[in-house]
Structures are given as structure tokens and as C-alpha cells.
């Protein structure tokens, strides 16, 4: 199926400047600055293959093999679709890495209540900016992915949830859905199959927590985004009590390519049990940051020094956060590792959402840990006490620590407190705050010690940090 990869596709470079996409658009769209696209020879373009080619236009999308996958799926039995996705080795791109086909198979065949498919586009994990590019360049692929998921589980309604900050993407998505309805791809009797299928857009209003599946459902039901206890899992009891499949936007955008290219082709791109490619968002102290689509299992060291162009200004690598802010940090000697779910788990971290954040040696880890925990403290919904109180105390302690007011026992306390948050909350936000904090303390203990007893932060200019009084012992 290599032909499928190569035929009829123009490379992004052949289009010249990055902002040429507008030439394909035949509808008025508010002016917005497009995120820059990057390219590297090691990239395997599957999800990103239509980027920069004007596929927001439905005619252009159809030219680029659009809506072929869903027609293929319509001719298949639901179980055959699920098996195809299972065999492809596709695992959830939102962060947990659960087998997508397996998730779909948990939805009961018979259900008294309507079944739903929910696309999670509430991308907010610091370090992650991939779904944004998919919505921006290839919104119909997400729609097609939702359609195939709906056919596989026997649902007639899908929702595509996009975070509130991404207003211009909501405009693009609403237009894409409207176009699909106008062509009869959505609505009653799609493609003459006798099946009905509706897909709707839904928007958020600023909340990291809503990216968690059960909070996402609460938000879509018009409530505060507070997680639900599991079991029952959404596949059995989800939106309005009906069975619900919830997948990340990148996961769903991968599905049409699997249907067309075949499970065998897709699984061979990656490593065993980690099929396909992934959009890796390289950010931080790098020469060439950007979103690159690389095969699963691509070496992290190569990703940083080759794809990302290495560390600028002749500085040395200090640490890497490999999968978004919630994943434990890796040291320079730990980065010779394949980027797939299982290998990173073995290395003591997680692949997470694919956000690779690179730190050079001018950065203070205590400050970085503080900024990370400030985020989780701000975003904790306050429902579970270990997370609400834990993130708040960690923020207080680290603020004091960074300002030179830390005590030696604080270092152990930070670790002890974090360890007691693990696994004690409804949703993984508590873990997401605790896991990186534990790793920062364990791997950079001497740097924490360098901040002790009123010493100013060794990385800041004198007076840059507001000094706080040292607490009495």
C-alpha cells in the first residue's frame, strides 16, 4: 500500500510559502495567522498528508481520496471495521494509549439508549499543539473518522468538541460539517446506504480538565467539567446515559487512512503493538521546533538533535519532558529511547500526548517544576481533595522554595505529598500533577538543595526572584 502513501500528493514545499492554503478556500473566513508548517525527510505523512493542500475545501478533500474510507466502511460489517482498527495497532493519541479498536468493542451491540461518538478536541496539555493543525488543515478527516467510528459501534450521532480558544478552528469545522451535509454525506440515508448519521460541532470555554473524557461529557451536557466515577465506563454509560465512544481528534483522523491503507500497512509503520505514526510537537529550547509526523518508535535523541535541529546557542541539553507536561522528565542520558507507549513506560515516563518539551542548561528545574504545578493548581476542578489540596500545597511549597525560603525537609515533603496524590482521584489530573513533580525531585535533588537556606536561585540574576522570609524550623 505504499502507492497510497505517494500517489497524487504534492509535498508541502512545492506549495511555496506556508500560507498558500487560502488560495483553495472558496468561502470567506476570518483573517487569522496560520501556524507555520515544517518538514523533515524522516517524516511519514499519514495524518498530516493533506496539510497545506487546501483540504478544508470539500472538493479538494474529495480529490485527495476524501470520503472514500467511509464508503468502504459502509460496505463492511461493524465487527470487521473494529477488527481492522484493532489489527492496525492504533492506540489513543490523547495520552493514555489505549487500543482504539478495543475501546470500540466495549460498546454494547444492543442498547435501549442512543449511542454516541464524541471527538475530543479540547487539546490543552502544555506542550501539545497537534489537533490544532488537524482541524486547521484537514477537518473533513476528523468528520470521516467520527463517521467510521459511528458505523463501527452502531451510533447515529457524533459530536466534535473543540476548545473555546480555538475559535477560528470552530469556524472551519462548522463550515466543513455544513458542506458535508450539503453533499448528503451526513444526515439521512448517507451514500444511499439507508443509514442515518448526524455530526455536530460543540465548543468549550476554557478548561484543561474538560479534556478528560468524563469531564468532557459533563461539559457537553452543559455543566461544570467535573469527572465522573468509573465504572461504569463511558462505553457503557456515557452521554445522557447512552453508550459513548470518546476518542482524541488525532486518533479519529488516523482511522480513514487505516481503512484505505489497510491495518497491515498501518501497523508496519510503527513498532509492535504501537501502530502507525504520531504528530510529535517539538517545543522549548530547540533550533527547529514544530509539529512533525514521525513513525511510532522513532528515537527521541534523533528527534531532538536531527529533526528538531538540536539545542541553539551552543547550550547543552538538560532535560526533556517527552509527552506533555504531565509526563515524568527524562535526563540527557535517558533519551536514547524509542518513542512508543511501551518503551517510554519502561524508561519510567510516558508517551502522553506527544508534546516533547526540551530544556537547555540555562533553565532552573525548580522554576520549571513550579510553573508546571501552577498550571495544575489553576486547572484542578476542585472535586477530589487530594488533587485540589495537593496541587495547592505543592504550589505554595515550590513558590517558597524557588524564592530561597525552602527547608531541607520540604524536598522530602514535596515527594511524599505527590506520592499520596497518585491514584486517589476520580480522574488522572491528580496523577498528572504528581508524576512530573516526583520525577523533578528524584532526578534533580541537588538542584533543589542548591536553593536551600535563603540562597537565591542560582539561575536567576540577583533580585529577579522576590525573596521570601525563611520559615522558622
Amino acid at each position: 500500500m505504499i502507492e497510497y502513501l505517494k500517489t497524487g500528493w504534492r509535498s508541502i514545499e512545492s506549495l511555496g510559502s506556508n500560507n498558500t492554503i487560502t488560495q483553495f478556500l472558496n468561502f470567506p473566513i476570518p483573517q487569522f495567522s496560520m501556524a507555520d508548517l515544517v518538514s523533515h525527510p524522516d517524516e511519514v505523512k499519514v495524518v498530516s498528508r493533506r496539510f497545506g493542500q487546501g483540504a478544508t475545501n470539500i472538493d479538494r478533500y474529495l480529490e485527495l481520496d476524501g470520503y472514500k474510507a467511509v464508503q468502504k466502511a459502509l460496505a463492511m460489517e461493524p465487527d470487521a471495521i473494529i477488527n481492522e482498527v484493532k489489527n492496525s495497532g492504533l492506540r489513543g493519541r490523547g495520552g493514555a494509549g489505549f487500543s482504539t479498536g478495543m475501546k470500540w468493542s466495549f460498546v454494547p451491540k444492543q442498547s435501549a439508549k442512543p449511542k454516541y461518538v464524541l471527538c475530543n478536541g479540547d487539546e490543552s496539555e502544555p506542550g501539545t499543539c497537534k489537533d490544532r493543525l488537524i482541524f486547521e488543515h484537514d477537518p473533513h478527516a476528523v468528520i470521516e473518522g467520527v463517521m467510521i467510528a459511528a458505523l463501527a459501534v452502531g451510533s447515529q450521532t457524533g459530536y466534535i468538541y473543540i476548545r473555546g480558544e480555538y475559535r477560528y478552528l470552530s469556524v472551519i469545522m462548522q463550515k466543513a460539517i455544513k458542506d458535508a451535509y450539503a453533499r448528503g454525506f451526513l444526515g439521512k440515508n448517507i451514500f444511499g446506504s439507508g443509514k442515518d448519521l448526524d455530526i455536530f460541532w460543540h465548543g468549550g470555554a476554557g478548561a484543561y480538565e474538560v479534556g478528560e473524557e468524563s469531564a468532557l461529557m459533563e461539559s457537553l451536557e452543559g455543566k461544570r467539567g467535573i469527572p465522573r466515577i468509573r465504572p461504569p465506563f463511558p462505553a457503557v454509560v456515557g452521554l445522557w446515559g447512552g453508550p459513548t465512544v470518546i476518542n482524541n481528534a488525532e486518533t479519529l483522523a488516523s482511522v480513514p487512512h487505516i481503512m484505505l491503507g489497510g491495518a497491515d500497512w498501518y501497523s508496519k509503520i510503527g513498532t509492535p503493538k504501537n501502530g502507525g505514526t504520531r504528530l510529535f510537537c517539538l517545543s522549548g529550547n530547540l533550533e527547529k521546533p514544530g509539529v512533525y509526523e514521525l513513525p511510532m518508535g522513532y528515537n527521541l535523541k534523533k528527534m531532538i538533535y536531527d529533526v528538531g535541529g538540536g539545542i541553539p546557542n551552543g547550550r547543552e541539553l538538560k532535560a526533556v519532558v517527552p509527552g506533555g507536561s504531565s509526563t515524568p522528565v527524562l535526563l540527557p542520558e535517558e533519551i536514547d529511547v524509542p518513542m512508543d507507549f511501551d518503551s517510554l513506560m519502561k524508561a519510567g515516563s510516558m508517551l502522553g500526548s506527544g508534546g516533547v518539551v526540551v530544556l537547555d542548561d540555562t533553565n532552573c528545574i525548580v522554576k520549571f517544576a513550579l510553573r508546571t504545578i501552577k498550571f495544575y493548581q489553576h486547572e484542578s476542578c476542585g472535586w477530589c481533595i487530594p488533587c485540589r489540596e495537593g496541587t495547592d500545597w505543592l504550589k505554595k511549597t515550590l513558590t517558597r522554595f524557588h524564592a530561597g525560603g525552602g527547608l531541607k525537609k520540604d524536598i522530602d515533603n514535596i515527594q511524599y505529598l505527590s506520592e499520596n496524590m497518585l491514584g486517589r482521584t476520580f480522574c488522572p489530573l491528580g496523577d498528572a500533577a504528581a508524576m512530573p513533580t516526583i520525577a523533578f525531585v528524584k532526578k534533580f535533588r541537588e538542584e533543589f538543595e542548591a536553593h536551600l537556606e535563603g540562597k537565591p536561585c542560582p539561575f536567576e540574576e540577583e533580585g529577579a526572584v522576590e525573596e521570601l522570609p525563611v520559615l522558622a524550623h
Binding site: 487569522f32 495567522s33 501556524a35 507555520d36 442512543p114 487539546e123 490543552s124 496539555e125 502544555p126 506542550g127 501539545t128 499543539c129 489537533d131 490544532r132 459530536y159 476548545r163 473555546g164 480558544e165 480555538y166 475559535r167 477560528y168 448526524d198 455536530f200 460543540h202 465548543g203 468549550g204 470555554a205 476554557g206 478548561a207 484543561y208 461539559s219 457537553l220 451536557e221 452543559g222 455543566k223 461544570r224 467539567g225 445522557w240 510537537c281 517539538l282 517545543s283 522549548g284 529550547n285 521546533p289 514544530g290 509539529v291 519532558v321 507536561s325 508534546g355 518539551v357 526540551v358 530544556l359 533553565n363 520549571f368 510553573r371 508546571t372 498550571f375 489553576h378 486547572e379 476542578c381
Partner: protein, 156 residues
């Protein structure tokens, strides 16, 4: 309360998308806020009665979402990301520069009502950091000079 035709059309459309009326609440509040500038008491009452909710139900939801506000903002809401990816590439310097330049702090508004400043969490521009969002527009790969240009351009 009167909203634009586009708002009313979207509102009616969206009501047909869900089995419960309440589901339209979050996006509706955001679109309403975009038209009025903030979620006034009158607006909250209006939305509550349209969706057959209590005012308290609506306020409960408003207080949860960081983009929703019950206080008026300036014409341009300058949202500076200082989260990790932006911090590594100068997000904090941009935020400090904005504070000095505009003479306001977090969630402050300039006396002429032009700018509101906000330090925000990750806006999804990590690979193009540092980034600032003014209302809904992304400004990426910024330097202090580039940001000055953006802000000065808006002032005119």
C-alpha cells in the same frame, strides 16, 4: 435582550443538536459574551430563562470556565501564555513587558478601556512559542518588538 441574527440562528440550530436544552449552555454563553462583552446579570437571566435553568445553575457553570467573565473587559483581551513551552522561549519577558507597557496587571484593564491583560495557561501554540492571543487571534513566534507592533497597531 437582543442578540445578533447570527447568534439567534446558531442558538436555534444548536438546540436541535442535543436531547437536552441545557447542552447548548457553554458555547452559547461564550458567543453571547462575545457580543455583549461580558456576562451581565441581564444576560445570565436571559440565558437561564431560555434554557429553563435557574440563574444559579448558569452562574455555577460560568465560574468554572476560564474564558467566561462576569466583569467587563477592554476592547482587546491580551492573553499572554507563560506556560512551560512559552516560558522556555521568553513568555515571561513578554508578560512583564505587557505589564510595564500597559501599566496593568493580571486581569487589569487600561483606563481608556482598550486593553485587558491576562496571564493564561497553555493556548496550544507550543511549537510556535512564545505566543499571545488577542481576543481570538493567535500571534506566534513573538519577540518584544513584534508584540509592540501588534499592540501599537491595535491602539490606532
Amino acid at each position: 435582550m437582543r442578540f445578533s441574527e447570527e447568534f439567534e440562528q446558531r442558538f436555534v440550530d444548536m438546540l436541535g443538536h442535543y436531547p437536552t436544552k441545557r447542552s447548548v449552555l457553554v458555547p452559547t454563553l461564550l458567543y453571547a459574551q462575545d457580543e455583549v462583552g461580558f456576562l451581565s446579570d441581564e444576560l445570565v437571566q436571559e440565558i437561564a430563562s431560555r434554557l429553563e435553568l435557574t440563574e444559579l445553575d448558569v452562574r455555577n457553570v460560568i465560574s468554572y470556565y476560564s474564558m467566561l467573565t462576569t466583569k467587563p473587559r477592554g476592547k482587546y483581551n491580551v492573553q499572554v501564555c507563560t506556560n512551560i513551552a512559552c516560558m522556555l522561549r521568553g513568555g515571561e519577558e513578554l508578560y512583564a513587558h505587557c505589564r510595564n507597557k500597559l501599566g496593568i496587571g493580571h486581569k487589569g484593564t487600561t483606563p481608556d478601556g482598550t486593553f485587558t491583560l491576562e496571564e493564561v495557561e497553555c493556548i496550544g501554540a507550543c511549537s510556535w512559542a512564545p505566543a499571545v492571543q488577542v481576543n481570538y487571534d493567535f500571534h506566534e513566534n513573538l519577540t518584544v518588538e513584534k508584540l509592540d507592533k501588534v499592540l501599537d497597531g491595535l491602539k490606532k
